[in-house]
Point group: C2
Chain length 291, copies 2
């Protein structure tokens, strides 16, 4: 597992770095970004927050726009931002290059359907291959938390709910909370996972990637925090936080949910609450005595 | 002076807004962005920090990438970010669309040479027209500070040094400190102001837009802070901070200069030190008792 350094920026006494590497899981060359806070040294390995971005994003959006690095530098948490899909000329894309399918829209699932299944294995990439690579090459320990926005909020919740031993906490900004029941989710799941959601086997195939379904059934309890802007244009049609809230209530799940009045779906919203989320993760990592 | 609202994002309990307006000074339609902190109301008008961006930027780069809004919201300072040049189909651009001349590269001067002089009047736009418009339409008072990056750091220093009664303080990140003696500056000044810098009249024409020349001669003293990354790729060829330092020393000018080890020319650098600069401005505005 070799990685190729392609950029270095000093930020707040730490370093933002980008790398290319050949992904065995995705069968293509991938780029990721890491922020190493000043505390990270070979003798003082730090925990990692994985950040999963939303539709159309790359590794760059969060690092440039969220204002997250200040609190990460203060508390000593590394941040890793992968891309949102496999990339490259050989990777299939939507015929019309739609923003919500194909490149930039991997939905953090393992595709089972051709032509997607050869490359679109973002679930395994985020859960297994990328952390192994990060923990091999950087001064980080194996303590992980995970967060994300929109499609990436969906990914973060699904990944933490399915791997409660791997993540100390999970948070999400405006997540696609019930993808089985919204346009974005049904389009992506139909393409990547198969097209008959009423069949029992396919229901099972879809529901293991649906945060509301998972939260309703899980017996493990990874502390979760969700932030949602009340003026988000996608709130009713795509995000459906009520499904998640009902699931949490039914299963007595430790979900902290905040509906933020006046806020939208943008990075301006994320930057307004990212400090709170990083402190939430720091508390669950044992770095802070209170949030 | 009418303005057209084109976007609104709630950020940190305040509002980021973009507007279009017809500029009489620039003879074209211009866009600007304003951040109004939560303290700004018709009964509590707040001071304004003007931010001048660097080559290729628009009103958006600083607002999205600098992480500045948190401290502005905390201290109650509005931020206004204009574009970096006149815009539109009728505005002349460099023949080769070079990044360092024409659109995106107005250099905050009043051009005297055709074809530039009809539109490229960014000095008057920033000093007069834009503040008048801002103070007419928004809950701000007439207290101003100014800051900027690279070409915009040059603009901020020049504008404050030439208008010491209008600005309480000035700061700059990696400014083009001595544009008469670097490639970027000589190219732009030749085009906008005329091509014979050795002639005395033209020397005068150039020197009134050169921060080092102005700092060496001024009798007024606007408190100034400059941040420079030591690993900035443009440091030796274009930025030349030593000229500014020598001028400040010769004239006993109140310049706080920080050479930041390991930092580059990017917004990651700006985001690392923007809190310090906003606190410097807040102190000079009387909002903080110490920096």
């Amino acid at each position: 597992m070799t990685i190729e350094n392609i950029s270095n920026n000093k930020v707040l006494d730490g370093w933002h770095k980008q790398y290319n590497h050949q992904s065995n899981v995705l069968n293509c060359k991938m780029r990721f970004a890491i922020y190493l806070p000043p505390q990270a040294t070979s003798k003082n390995k730090v925990p990692v927050m994985y950040w999963l971005s939303g539709l159309t994003c790359t590794d760059e959006n969060f690092m440039q726009k969220a204002g997250a690095l200040r609190m990460a530098a203060e508390l000593g948490i590394a941040i890793v931002a992968p891309d949102t899909s496999p990339r490259g000329e050989n990777v299939p894309d939507d015929e019309k290059q739609a923003y919500d399918l194909g490149k930039g829209a991997g939905f953090y699932v393992n595709a089972t359907q051709p032509p997607w299944n050869k490359h679109y294995q973002m679930y395994d990439y985020v859960v297994d291959e990328l952390p192994e690579l990060i923990e091999t090459h950087f001064p980080v320990n194996s303590q992980r938390v995970i967060s994300g926005h929109s499609m990436g909020g969906h990914g973060a919740l699904v990944i933490a709910l399915r791997n409660p031993k791997l993540y100390k906490s999970v948070s999400a900004f405006s997540p696609i909370s019930n993808p089985m029941n919204c346009g974005w989710g049904r389009k992506a799941f139909s393409a990547y996972l198969g097209t008959d959601p009423d069949a029992w086997t396919l229901y099972n195939t879809w529901s293991v990637y649906d945060a509301s379904e998972l939260m309703r059934k899980t017996t493990a309890q990874v502390p979760a925090m969700v932030e949602q802007g009340e003026n988000d244009d996608f709130l009713e049609e795509q995000l459906k936080p009520n499904a998640l809230l009902l699931a949490a209530k039914a299963n007595n799940y430790p979900l902290t949910f905040n509906m933020a009045e006046g806020y939208d779906h943008s990075y301006y919203f994320i930057s307004s609450f990212i400090d709170k989320h990083i402190r939430f993760h720091a508390f669950n990592l044992g770095l802070l005595e209170q949030q």
